[in-house]
Amino acid sequence: MKKERVGAFVIFILLFLPIVFWVSRIPLIDRFDSFNPIITSIGQILGLVGMAMFVITIILSSRLKFLEDYFGGLNKIYFWHHFLGGFSLVFLLFHPMVLVLKFITTSLRSAALFFIPGTDLFITFGIIALLTLILLLIFTLFINFPYKTWKITHKFMGVVFFFAILHTFFIPSDVSLYLPMKIYMGFLVSLGILAYLYRTIFGSILVKKFFYTVDQINQLNDKVVEIVMSAKSERINFLPGQFIFISFRGEGISRESHPFSISSGVQEDKLKVIVKNLGDYTAKLGNLKTGIEAKIEGPFGKFSYLHSSSRDQVWIAGGVGITPFISMAKSFVNNNYKVDLYYCTQTEDEMIFSKEFSEISIKNSNFRLVPFCADIKGRISVQAIVNFSGNLLQKDFFLCGPPLMMKNIRSQLIGMDVSRKNIHSEEFNF
């Protein structure tokens, strides 16, 4: 098994183990011998797996760097974080909906009382946890809060976690009554608590940070700025194509950290990032003052031309998705690597780095720039890549750009028999 698939495999095992313990306590024939035990059993499984998913979601949000190797990068970890977070809510929504069926057979009033807090202390804890989780995930999925506000609301997942733990361990169930299950869920929950303490409560102390000073703010066009920083002490050690989280500590800018691709070469003294004005936070970055401090966490990501099996590569950048390729091109070493960079923008004016790439391609015959302006050539297609770069099957592909563009290119490549393992993409969807 490839190392980057181990993470998904471990998640599957961690979710399957509660079911194994649950089955080992009481034989299935007794669990499913009539209507009420069947309903109880389904409700319990939904609750157990939903809780396990929720805890794993919290563990994955801790940005532990060693986990990147087992998932294929932080963006893949966040994919699992979103996936499990959403489905834990689905499982936990159906947990009481199934259990209430056994009360409906007695009386509608008893079923109604099951949903009302206060009837039973530990059921009440479960109700508080579920209602808070519903609220916080509605904020996350369906309401477009500013990132800063959303991040504050997301910290209240600790409240959900606290009440969910009380509900899980103290309500009469297989967790409270069966020692192996109690030990397993205790282990999982302990990891979750440690991850929450590490990231959310003591993150400012425990998470390693690099301290830089903002030296220059270069306005590249009306929407794009380059921020140049120098290290105050220890320099961050990164691979070309990786990204960092930056928290700027100046007046007029909020302090929450945001991810940015590094655009400087590995050999450069200064650290550079390119920012496009995409919203309320990035709009303010153009007004940063030089001399302010930048707290940096990272680097993260496996999106680097050095992390691929083939040295014959095609890089496809859309719009501001060019940023990781700037670092990769600046760090490019002609060591049997052969790269075609497709630089795609809507208009020619948006192609603000074509001069730098042209200079690199002049110096390195194995690095070719292919400008692809949609207004002139239309949207890029894999057929256009075949026409210029030739046979696709021995190449590795690096994609970074708008989600729809990456999805289209990926599906076209797969349609032309390119293996999924040869397609690398960078999604900023934190």
Partner: protein, 129 residues
């Protein structure tokens, strides 16, 4: 995934709202009559005093009396609704189930306060001393 969550949330709100409205409206509409009848029934029933020899006659799933904390309950109509299954209950028909009720048949946990309120509806009398 977003669609799955949205559909699940919709189902959840529909189910919870329906159960709450049906349960509480049903309860409100029938509260006075029910409470009155229930109280009268309990008051009438509570006057009944049964000894263990009488209780032991009601020892099966179709006619099940149980003693808990010196009170006698007719749980015949509750079969099919017990979350722990009928098997857990039928062993105690015609018996003093105080200990079993307190420990959930020896599991060591107590019944919830919700279960206690539910049990009160099945009270029929006191155990003769």
């Amino acid at each position: 995934m977003k669609k799955t969550v949205a559909v699940s949330l919709f189902i959840f709100f529909v189910v919870v709202t329906s159960v709450l409205v049906a349960g509480l409206v049903f309860y409100q509409n029938n509260y006075n009559n029910k409470t009155e009848n229930f109280t009268n029934n309990i008051n009438d029933s509570i006057k009944v005093t049964l000894d263990m020899s009488e209780i032991k006659k009601h020892n099966n799933i179709n006619d099940c009396y149980m003693v808990m904390n010196n009170k006698v309950y007719d749980l015949t109509s509750y079969f099919g609704s017990h979350p722990g299954g009928d098997r857990a209950m039928v062993l105690y028909c015609g018996e003093n189930a105080t200990q079993a009720y307190a420990t959930k048949g020896g599991e060591g946990s107590r019944h919830s306060s919700y279960a206690k309120n539910l049990l009160a509806q099945y009270l029929i009398g006191n155990l003769a001393k």
